[in-house]
């Protein structure tokens, strides 16, 4: 279970790591927009090129980034296969009984697969180069305008950072409970899917109980320190917009413009 490292922070000394987390968040969102603006395979080369450039700039091993698509590979295959059979536009190019495959469907499912893979790799690049705390701070900072409509931005960011912080703790706890129930003869590996689901109950209930206990303890500890939310709080780490951040945002904007121009020329 400890090998679960989906997009976990990968420390390195690079320009991308040092960038303003807000800039990285904006670039990532713009990058996702870019992925969906693309029409025609040619433009995917720009997007992939941008991604590879960013990975190299971040001094990350390509393997670490490619590894992040492993958990969603099944999802990608599943959607691709579904699209292949059920997409109803275009000429039929292959037929077998009730299965009909159309040329548009092939194109569409390839698009979808490439988009999903680029999407996950792009967003993983952000989480690989940004500490979770920085990321929630960035979200808080970017959502600040919503405070005008009395949206609890600070509380939302706090909830997110607490949730992120508790993932490793709960994983340790789950590990302990699994061992304890194994010692009582629990069997998680045999039986059909229902038997296995039922075998999870002795793990899930203690885990749930201990999450509530931890939440209560944390709330008490925060009360004891007179924590009262976002008003008048200062940050230990201040954000600074630098030249690199401006250049990053500019480059992703130019990527989108390049794709739109290509679309206009080709179609």
């Amino acid at each position: 279970m400890r090998e679960f490292t989906f997009g976990q922070y990968y420390p390195a000394n690079s320009v991308v790591h040092k960038m303003d987390a807000r800039a990285k968040l904006i670039i990532t969102i713009a990058f996702i927009v870019a992925i969906f603006v693309v029409e025609g395979f040619f433009s995917f080369i720009y997007v992939a090129g941008f991604l590879v450039f960013a990975i190299l700039l971040a001094k990350l091993p390509i393997r670490a980034v490619v590894k992040t698509i492993k958990p969603i590979l099944i999802l990608v295959l599943f959607t691709a296969v579904l699209n292949l059979f059920f997409y109803q536009k275009g000429e039929i190019i292959w037929e077998f009984g009730f299965i009909k495959i159309r040329d548009e469907a092939v194109r569409f499912c390839l698009y979808m697969a490439i988009r999903l893979i680029l999407l996950v790799m792009g967003s993983s690049l952000m989480t690989l180069t940004t500490q979770p705390v920085e990321l929630t701070d960035a979200i808080e900072s970017l959502l600040t305008p919503l405070k005008w409509v009395r949206f609890p931005v600070h509380e939302l960011a706090l909830i997110m950072s607490i949730a992120l912080r508790y993932i490793p703790i709960l994983m340790d706890e789950a590990d302990r409970i699994i061992r304890a129930q194994k010692a009582r003869g629990a069997d998680f590996e045999s039986g059909n899917i229902f038997a296995r689901a039922k075998a999870m109950i002795p793990i899930l209930i203690p885990l749930l109980v201990s999450s509530f206990r931890r939440a209560n303890e944390l709330a008490d500890a925060m009360d004891a320190r007179c924590y009262s939310g976002g008003a008048n709080r200062t940050k230990f780490k201040q954000f600074h917009i630098g030249l690199n951040d401006v250049m990053g945002v500019m480059s992703v904007v130019s990527l989108i413009m390049l794709i739109i121009t290509t679309n206009a020329v080709l179609f």
């Binding site: 010692a183 069997d187 109950i201 109980v209």
Partner: protein
């Protein structure tokens, strides 16, 4: 022989960047009928060691034999090993999940022996399960009529721990392993749990292995103690003998009972009396020795 360990080593993440040597060449024999103590600092490897005993961790190198069963990967006897060798983790109350105390305690029993069905003629009937649960509850000092139908989450800390222990001993393990059974309890609760463990040694599990931080607990209960530091067994002897090595223990940041400290201080002054876990007996011997010397 209950547990026989030869040259057991264990490394966490042997290939990864966070490689950590948890056990180095452990050789140890624990005999049937012993009350064996294991003491050591946090991270010394004692929890890793005891998790080997019921095959929650598989030996990487060296051999291990528990209750006549060889612990090797893929062995079909591992389940019966876990029934014979009960393991009470630290804070066992955190593993409770049943709707009622009875359901929770019966969990291990149903897993190991099973309910009586056509496929499993050697299983237990509902009546037999109830009898076994009742027996286990009485062994840990909980009245069946009062507690069996209550939710384990409504009980007090000490009661929860008793329910958790009942859930282990319900299978009547020959060997009972306890990882800091008294931690987090008040002094009275501690005494009660230790009394309970001593009773269990007489009734269900005649070999007890207990991890503890508390030298007083060790002195009071154990017939033999192993001191573990940095994954190695530094010393393995009776508590009486162990406490004469005061300096070595202090070097490992372990303390010794106050009576043992007094004994060692007196020995330096030329009054050599044997250590006794009962301070009253010890005081009497000292008084006699001094009175005798004065004559």
């Amino acid at each position: 022989m209950s547990i026989k360990i030869e040259n057991l080593s264990f490394i966490y993440n042997p290939k990864g960047a966070f490689k950590k040597e948890a056990l180095k060449n452990i050789t140890l024999t624990i005999n049937k009928g012993e009350f064996f103590g294991i003491i050591g600092h946090t991270g010394s490897g004692k929890s890793t060691l005891i998790q080997h005993f019921n095959a929650l961790i598989m030996p990487q190198s060296g051999t291990l034999e528990v209750a006549g069963i060889k612990v090797v990967e893929g062995s079909k006897e591992l389940k019966s090993l876990r029934a014979k060798c009960g393991m009470v983790f630290q804070y066992p109350e955190y593993q409770l999940f049943g709707e009622t105390v009875e359901e929770d305690i019966a969990f291990g029993l149903i897993n190991f022996i099973g309910k009586k069905t056509e496929k499993n003629p050697s299983g237990l009937t509902d009546q037999e399960i109830k009898e076994r649960v009742k027996e286990a509850m009485e062994l840990v000092g909980l009245s069946y009529n009062e507690f069996a139908m209550r939710s384990p989450f409504q009980l007090s800390g000490g009661q929860k721990r008793r329910v958790a222990i009942a859930g282990i001993i319900v299978t009547k393990p020959e060997i009972l392993i306890l990882d800091e059974p008294s931690s987090g309890l008040d002094p009275k609760g501690k005494q009660e749990i230790l009394q309970l463990i001593r009773n269990l040694k007489e009734t269900t599990s005649d070999t007890i292995i207990m991890i503890s931080h508390d030298m007083d607990e060790i002195a009071e209960n154990c017939s033999r103690v192993a001191v573990i530091a940095k994954g190695e067994i530094v010393m393995c002897m009776s508590p009486e003998e162990l406490f004469t090595h005061e300096e070595a223990l202090v070097g490992l940041s372990l303390d010794i009972p106050i009576v043992a400290k007094v004994r060692n201080a007196l020995a330096l002054k030329g009054i050599d009396v044997p250590y006794n876990r009962d301070y009253k007996v010890f005081a009497k011997t000292v008084a006699e020795k001094i009175a005798g010397g004065a004559k």
